[in-house]
């Protein structure tokens, strides 16, 4: 793979990239995806208002004491609180119903939430109410400074709903981009075969150059799109001061970006090999189905894991199996079931599998690309000795 090899390969990649990125459909889909990211990040932050500060109404005679307890509870949970005193319980209840308040603390009697918490853990509002309830048992004594500094640590990493949702969004993105760009690689290969331009090309470049250039060019196209989405994510999150920027969500975004690259790298050559087996666009879905099947399975199972409780052993194993790892590993990282070490192990396995897949795919591609007409059987392509 000397300079001459690369110069032709990069020419092929450049043509591929230009053809895709100059297309109007590419600009339109990128724009739509960017707008979707902006909306997904901005709308919860803006509608949620107060930028993460919980609004607590207090009802009771000793307003100062009640307010102090609420503030302490906020300090323990490391949450900002905005306290409003109400003379009339009915008014406070009405505000709670309207969503203007998150919690109402009725001094010496009860804590009100808009909705009954579904289980013990609950969401942010229930946690705040729980903390207030704890502190309300000993309202007379101010909390010692040391107690406020005690760290609260979970045995698993924090997995707030927003982190899980971020994980889900990224899993969808990984699945869609690998699927869409993979299909485009296949149809690009088929187009070269069916228009017979491949014979002119192969008179001056090697099949390995054509294959490499094609997946590189398509990869650049895909990653420009992903980069646009990441920029949109960070710019919007910064602009609206989204809570996604401070928590575990940012880690999920970065791990997801890694898996997106690895997932594309693993699958792209297989899609090209699949395309080389056929001569008609209409056969494409038949040959690409086996390529996307593992990814599809992990994609469908990932939703249950994100919204359900602990992942099953099967799904955990999928996080190390290269074709399913991009989706499964991202999912488990988002739910806090695995850490960076496990992600790194799965990534190394995936890279090794990528190299092996590329070798095999190149062999199939080289042996099938000039054979037109009937679909080339995979076994034939692997066994053939200089087929054309």
């Amino acid at each position: 793979m000397n300079r001459e090899w690369w110069s032709s390969t990069l020419l092929v990649a450049g043509r591929e990239r230009r053809e895709r990125m100059d297309a109007r459909s590419y600009r339109i889909t990128t724009l739509i995806l960017v707008l979707a990211v902006v909306a997904a990040v901005a709308i919860p932050a803006l509608v949620g208002g107060g930028n993460g500060a919980s609004k607590v109404g207090v009802v009771g005679s000793d307003t100062a004491a009640l307010t102090s307890i609420v503030r302490q509870a906020g300090a323990v949970l490391d949450e900002r609180v905005k306290v409003t005193a109400f003379a009339d319980l009915a008014v406070a209840r009405a505000k709670l119903r309207a969503g203007d308040l998150d919690v109402v603390y009725v001094g010496g009697r009860e804590l009100l939430l808009e909705q009954q918490p579904t289980d013990g853990s609950g969401d942010d509002k229930a946690r705040l109410a729980g903390a207030i309830a704890q502190l309300a048992r000993a309202p007379a004594r101010p909390l010692p400074a040391r107690a406020q500094a005690l760290p609260v640590r979970g045995l698993k990493a924090a997995t707030s709903l927003s982190t899980r949702l971020t994980g889900m969004a990224i899993v969808i993105l990984i699945y869609l981009l690998v699927f869409i760009y993979g299909q485009r690689i296949t149809s690009g290969v088929v187009e070269e075969k069916s228009s017979r331009v491949v014979e002119v090309l192969l008179a001056s470049v090697r099949p390995s150059q054509l294959l490499t250039g094609k997946v590189l060019g398509m990869g650049v196209t895909a990653f420009v799109q992903v980069a646009a989405l990441l920029v949109a994510f960070f710019a919007t999150a910064t602009a609206v001061g989204s809570s996604l920027l401070d928590g575990a969500a940012i880690g999920v975004v970065l791990v997801g970006a890694l898996w997106l690259v690895l997932g594309y790298a693993l699958h792209c050559t297989a899609f090209a090999a699949a395309g080389s087996l056929i001569s008609r666009e209409s056969d494409a879905s038949n040959v690409t189905f086996p390529v996307v099947l593992p990814l599809l399975v992990s994609y469908m199972l990932s939703f249950g894991t994100i919204f359900g409780g602990s992942p099953g052993t099967f799904f955990t194993l999928l996080a190390y199996f290269p074709p399913t790892a991009p989706v499964a590993s991202t999912t488990l990282y988002a739910t806090g079931d695995i850490g960076l070490v496990e992600v790194a192990i799965a990534a190394v396995i995936c890279v090794a599998a990528t190299v092996a897949t590329a070798r095999l795919a190149a062999t199939i591609y080289e042996r099938s690309i000039l054979r037109t007409g009937a679909r080339v059987r995979l076994r034939e392509a692997l066994r053939a000795t200089g087929g054309t």
Partner: protein, 301 residues
Amino acid sequence: MLELHDLHRSYGEVAALDGMTFTVPAGRVFGFLGPNGAGKTTAMRAILGVTALHSGSIRFAGAPVDVAARRRFGYMPEERGLYPGMRVLEQLAYFGRLHGMTAAAARQAGAELCGRLGVAERLEAKVEELSLGNQQRVQLAAALVHDPELLVLDEPFSGLDPVGIDDLSAVLGERAAAGATVLFSSHQLDLVEHLCEEVAIVDRGRLVAQGRVEELARSGRPQLAVRVVGDDGGRWADALPAGAARASTRDDGTVTIALDDAALADAVLDVARAAGRVEHFTFQRRRLSEVFRESVRRVPA
């Protein structure tokens, strides 16, 4: 100079190339003839490396052909192939660059060729928007854009109108005069006869005749065409001297006579003059189509 030596390639039971051997000299337009299925396309694809040979060797300019050498070749395959959605000039520039040209040089050469081949106004059109004839011209431009040292064109004239044929003939002649080796296949034998200085005729994967068109035309038994005024049946030729035989008689009474030896022409003339006034008496040049038919004549099973 391109040398094909003892090429073998079979598809299952069928031998497409069965020991084909011939040499294409540089600086000449060289015609590659043969009936359908004779192995022309397989041989051309083997030269470009898109078909693997079972045995045999191909050398260009004295060296075995490799990937680097093929960058100096220009190829027009039997099954035309261009990117349908790509613009003409962009496409030509791409092919030029794949053969090692700079972007600017490739664009310039592509635009010039389109001018020569009559598609100058369609540089910014997509290939799929062009008529088939114009697609063919662009395909030719793609084979020529990098000024190749060897041109291998599979049926380059099929589908072109007479103006296109003239344009392409002129371009091929120029390239050959500039020292390039030009090999093209065709079934249009009159065109080949007019354009080529030399041809190879192949059949069933082997060479059956090769030579300069002029020599092939004079090869074989000499033939006379003779017409005697008033004898529309050519009956005077019933009494020909030994070694001369009537080959055919045309409607106007012209008799073609095959001679064992050109010297017998005088004796034939004497017989004709004795029969009446001789209106037409020439040695007949064989047409390339006759040479072709004779070379590939099938032995009945």
